[in-house]
Amino acid sequence: MKWILKNKTLDIVIATVLMGMIVSERVCSQQASSTQVVTLRVMELNTIDLIGGPLTLQINSVNDNAGQPNPAIDASTKLLWTSNGDARKIAVGSDLASPRFILKIAAEKSGSGTGIAQPEVTLSDNSPHDLILGVQRSAGSCSLRFTALATSEEGTGSESRLITYTITGG
C-alpha cells in the first residue's frame, strides 16, 4: 500500500514536471515580435524647371509685303513643373521694366498634367503675368514659344532679358 502511494506520488510529480516543461516550452517558443512607428509626412512641394539653355532670337529678315522685319520665333524651350498643392498657377516675368524690343511668350500645352495655358503674354514690363492656370496636384510640361518683334524704326541692337517662371497660389 505504501509502495503504491509512493508510486502515485511519483507519477504526479513526473506528470507535473512534464506539463511544466511543455508549458514553459510553448511560452518561450512563442513568436517574438517588435514594432516600430514610422510616420511618413508629405509636405507641400512645388518645383519648376526648364529644358533648354540660353536662347538667342535673331531678327534678320524682312517681310517683303509689309517692309517690316519678320518676327523671330523659337519653341525649343520646355517648361516642367510638379506640384502636389491645389489651385496653383505659373506666372512669367521679365527683368526689364522698359524693353526696347517686343518679346512675347506663350505656353503651348501638349504634355501631361493639369493646367490651362493662357493666351500669349507680351513681356512689356517687369511685372508677372499668368502663363498657366489651374495647376493641381500633378506634374506637367509644356513648350514655350517665344516671339521677338522689332520695327524698322527701332533699328538694330541687342537686348538681354532674364525671364523668371514662378509657381504661386492660383
Partner: protein, 189 residues
C-alpha cells in the same frame, strides 16, 4: 582536506625534529639520523592520506527556445519635401536606412515577416533588409496589413541588418501624413 593535511604535516615535522634531537643526544651519526627521518617521512605521508567521504552533484543545464528581436529606434520620421521632387515627374520619393534590426534565435529555421497597422495608406511605404549578417534578405516589400517575408533562413543564429525604408508619394496624392506601426515577427519557416 587541505587544512587537515597542513596540520598533519606540521605535526610530522615536530615528531621528526624530536627524533633527530634524540638521536643526536645519543651521539649517533648525523647521516643515520637524517636517513631515519626520511624513511619516517615517507611512511608517515602514506599513512596520513585518507579519504573521509565523497559527494556528487548532478547539474542539468536546460536551454529553452529563445527568440529575441530588436530595432534600434522605435520611432522613425520620413518626410517628402521639395528636395525630393523633380520637376515634370509625378512621383516623389525619399529613403531612410538609419534603423538596424537585430535578432537572436536558438531554435529551428525561422523567418521574419513584416506588417503595417495602416490598412489604407495614402502613400506607398516599402521596406527591405539590407546586408543581413546571417540569413537571406527577401526582395523589397510594399508594406501592408498582410505579412510579407523580410528575412528568411534564420536558424540558430544572432545577426543584424539595416532596414531600408522607401517612401513614395505622387503629386496627385497631395499633401498628408501616414502613420504606420510596423510589426516585425519571427515565424517558423
Amino acid at each position: 582536506m587541505t587544512l587537515l593535511n597542513v596540520v598533519v604535516l606540521s605535526g610530522t615535522l615536530d615528531l621528526r625534529t624530536m627524533i633527530v634531537r634524540a638521536l643526536c643526544r645519543q651521539n649517533c651519526r648525523p647521516h643515520l639520523a637524517i636517513l631515519t627521518v626520511l624513511l619516517f617521512g615517507l611512511f608517515s605521508n602514506s599513512g596520513f592520506c585518507q579519504t573521509y567521504g565523497t559527494a556528487t552533484n548532478t547539474i542539468t543545464v536546460k536551454v529553452q527556445a529563445i527568440t529575441m528581436i530588436k530595432i534600434n529606434t522605435s520611432i522613425l520620421n520620413l518626410n517628402i519635401s521639395g528636395s525630393n521632387a523633380i520637376a515634370g515627374q509625378d512621383q516623389m520619393m525619399t529613403t531612410d536606412q538609419t534603423s538596424t534590426f537585430s535578432w537572436g534565435i536558438n531554435s529551428s529555421l525561422k523567418k521574419v515577416t513584416v506588417t503595417t497597422s495602416l490598412a489604407a495608406p495614402k502613400y506607398t511605404l516599402q521596406l527591405a533588409a539590407i546586408n543581413p549578417t546571417v540569413g537571406t534578405a527577401a526582395s523589397q516589400v510594399t508594406l501592408s496589413t498582410t505579412a510579407n517575408d523580410l528575412l528568411t533562413n534564420l536558424g540558430r543564429s544572432s545577426g543584424s541588418c539595416s532596414l531600408l525604408y522607401t517612401a513614395i508619394a505622387l503629386a496627385s496624392q497631395g499633401t498628408g501624413t501616414d502613420s504606420h506601426t510596423i510589426t516585425f515577427t519571427v515565424a517558423t519557416q
